[in-house]
């Protein structure tokens, strides 16, 4: 037994040494992490007196916007200091993590960021604090904020969220391949899915491309977003499914379009394999970075025929927050003009506060906003259903649609089930 223990201990010590050397500052687990945390920096100079600590549950931000937001708030607030709790970037896992915490009535997080489709469920469960009073106190109207984001957080007559950053699906096209005449038609939005299919067939193969069009059609939430667009916000479920099937079967899409997520989409498009792509604004950032075959100046933007699905993240207050007044102050800061401006200028996110859409600093940092095709897309957004049992409905839509598209199911059965679910 001694031998076992001594071996184990030696191993642990060796490893602790090996790994410990690489990360010296973290050897004391009680000490704050070695990364310069903005909240700490802000705390020391301005107010040595005890400020109330607030926690903000949010995914890591690849840009510096989040850090600057927090620092700006901590500088300006007399009473509060905010610390971020960085959640996993896997949205499904983050949802479960939040659910565990919120359902235990824990006040662990004061302000939480959410995917737009979670709000209905969380509001129905009573986990969120309505924000109508806050809006009234600040003199803001619902229409001051991004309409799609606000709609996704309105449940039973009450508003529960403010936008963090809105997102929308739209069409990317290769401006160096598509003729200016066709480009104009696309950007105006006056075209049909059949037109897009025809164009995809026409341009496929030009400029070294292999595919005409790529979009998200794997069995996951992205399929629902795309189907929302193909069916023009569920107004023509059967027709939309049929068109989607035409795209799937045609040779303008990759053979494995039915496993495509955003990752496959941007790889195909940015590596110059596809003429068209349906994706979120982030892909423009990747193109503009210049690290890929397709550069920023080869890309154009247009609305999708059926409108673009609203995505992105929204912010709400935990109904069991330890400090609601503080949570409201922070929420108002981050979703209001100051916070949204930092987010839009530093992180190039779309602002959720509408007045900023014409702000010169924001426009300077966000080239998309000055693009006509993108502006048209922004004007044609459509939302997914806001219901308490959204994930159940979404799950069944995914399965039914994927079953039909993969040739394992009938069109009528899929269309009827999906229409029935949305009633």
């Amino acid at each position: 037994m001694k031998k076992v223990l001594s071996i184990l201990l030696t191993v642990i010590m060796i490893l602790a040494l090996v790994t410990g050397c690489g990360s010296q500052p973290t050897t004391q687990s009680q000490q704050p992490s070695e990364q310069p945390s903005p909240s700490k920096d802000a705390e020391s100079p301005s107010a040595p007196a005890e400020k109330t600590k607030l926690t903000f549950a949010v995914q890591a931000d690849s840009t510096d916007a989040l850090n600057q937001l927090i620092a700006a708030f901590n500088d300006s607030s007399e009473l509060y200091t905010v610390e971020t709790v960085v959640m996993t970037n896997d949205s499904g896992n983050m949802h479960d993590q939040l659910l565990n915490s919120l359902s235990s009535k824990s006040g662990e997080y004061d302000v939480i960021s959410m995917d737009v489709v979670w709000a209905g469920e969380f509001a129905a469960a009573g986990y969120l604090q309505p924000i109508d009073e806050l809006l009234a106190a600040k003199g803001w109207k619902v229409t001051d904020f991004n309409a799609g984001s606000m709609a996704s957080g309105k449940y039973k007559g009450k508003n529960y969220v403010l936008p963090y950053f809105p997102d929308l699906g739209f069409l990317f096209y290769r401006s160096d391949i598509v003729s200016s005449e066709d480009a104009q038609k696309l950007e105006s939005g006056n075209y049909t899915w059949a037109d897009l299919l025809a164009m995809a067939e026409k341009y496929k193969g030009q400029g070294g491309t292999k595919y005409g069009h790529v979009y998200q059609s794997g069995q996951y939430e992205g399929l629902v977003c795309n189907l929302n667009e193909f069916t023009a916000n569920w107004t023509d479920v059967k027709g939309g499914l049929e068109v989607m099937n035409q795209f799937t079967k045609s040779d303008v899409t990759p053979k494995d379009i039915l496993v495509y997520t955003e990752g496959e989409t941007h790889n195909a498009f940015l590596n110059g394999e596809s003429v068209f792509a349906r994706n979120w604004p982030y892909m423009n950032g990747m193109a503009a970075s210049g690290e890929y075959t397709v550069k920023g100046n080869q890309v154009g933007f247009a609305p999708l025929p059926g409108g673009g699905t609203v995505g992105g993240w929204i912010l709400g207050i935990n109904a069991n927050a330890k400090n609601k007044a503080g949570a409201e102050e922070f929420l108002a800061f981050i979703a209001g003009p100051e916070g949204q401006k930092i987010n839009a200028t530093v992180g190039s996110y779309l602002p959720g506060f509408n007045a900023l859409l014409t702000d010169a600093d924001v426009l300077a940092k966000n080239a998309l906003l000055t693009n006509q095709g993108f502006s048209n897309a922004l004007a044609k957004t459509i939302a997914r259903p806001v219901v308490a049992n959204y994930s159940e409905i979404s799950d069944q839509i995914q399965i039914k649609a994927h079953e039909y598209l993969s040739g394992n199911g009938q069109l009528d059965s899929a269309a009827d089930t999906i229409s029935g679910l949305l009633k």
Binding site: V4, V18, V85, T88, N100, H266
Partner: protein, 274 residues
């Protein structure tokens, strides 16, 4: 008594087999040196990168992955020590001693491993929140749920094989059961103990759900959870994921190598005789 020819064939088969087993890992290692643009598309199928790069490793070391790796080691080691210890007590009693409700105990231990982990996460999380135990090394305690049943069952089979005569001769010498256990039985069951220790270690090392839920703080995050952070909202940073896989796998292999030397010495020393 094999001819040189057949042993050569066997070696070839073994080498081929090992290559197949190792292939995904080799491929991942090679991919971790490719720049992000070569990870997808045509160049993804090439063995070596056109422009090999260390950028993924550099990016990875800027994150807190090393700290997470350390957490994983601490958590897995603590769990391994205490689970192996209590499992060996328990399984010795089951294999050798008489007591009431033995069958019930065995059935219960087995039954607990029929439930998926996801259903215990919620209740355990709520208890941990109440006790203020989230984000700490207390997480090692609930890991008994996933490791104790396997460890116990492996050890039962090994204790059962230790010859009864050796035990009896110890009793005749007047040793107590506990003394016999530590002096005679435990050393003889060493290969089984090492096996169950490795099982426990890797079981904890691979765990994701409990770790994500209970230790969400960066300071206490384990390596599996840290890897799940290597993605953006719409993309996975494949270069970093492959690099992290390499970093995560190599130290585990070192542990396994250290342990298995002990297993080998366990047999060659001839401890187990009839």
């Amino acid at each position: 008594m094999q001819t040189a020819k057949t042993s050569k064939t066997i070696m070839t088969v073994i080498i081929l087999y090992l290559l197949i087993i190792a292939f995904p890992f080799i491929w991942v290692t090679l991919t971790s040196f490719k720049p992000e643009s070569e990870i997808w598309g045509q160049s993804a199928l090439k063995l070596f990168a056109d422009q090999p790069t260390m950028e993924h490793y550099e990016a990875l070391f800027k994150t807190t992955i090393l700290n997470s790796l350390k957490n994983s080691f601490i958590i897995a080691s603590i769990t391994t020590i205490y689970v192996t210890l209590i499992a060996s007590f328990c399984s010795y009693a089951i294999a050798r001693l008489k007591f009431k409700f033995k069958k019930v105990l065995v059935a219960v231990i087995l039954a607990t491993s029929m439930f998926p982990q996801m259903i215990v996460v919620g209740p355990i999380y709520r208890t941990f929140v109440k006790l203020g135990w989230t984000n700490s090394f207390y997480i090692t305690l609930p890991y008994s749920m996933i490791t104790l049943p396997v460890a116990t069952f492996i050890l039962i089979t090994h204790f059962a094989k230790v010859p009864v005569e050796m035990e009896e001769s110890a009793y005749i010498d007047g040793a107590s059961k506990i003394r016999t256990f530590f002096r005679i039985i435990l050393p003889l069951a060493m290969p089984g103990i090492f096996t169950s220790a490795i099982m426990t270690f890797i079981g904890v090392w691979n765990e994701f759900l409990l770790s994500l839920t209970l230790n969400s703080d960066e300071k206490f995050r384990t390596a599996t959870v840290a890897i799940s952070f290597l993605r953006g909202q719409f993309q996975i940073f494949w270069g970093q994921v492959t690099a992290a896989t390499v970093i995560l796998t190599i130290p585990t292999l070192i542990i396994v190598i250290l342990f298995q030397k002990q297993i080998i010495s366990g047999i060659t020393s001839g401890a187990v005789k009839e």
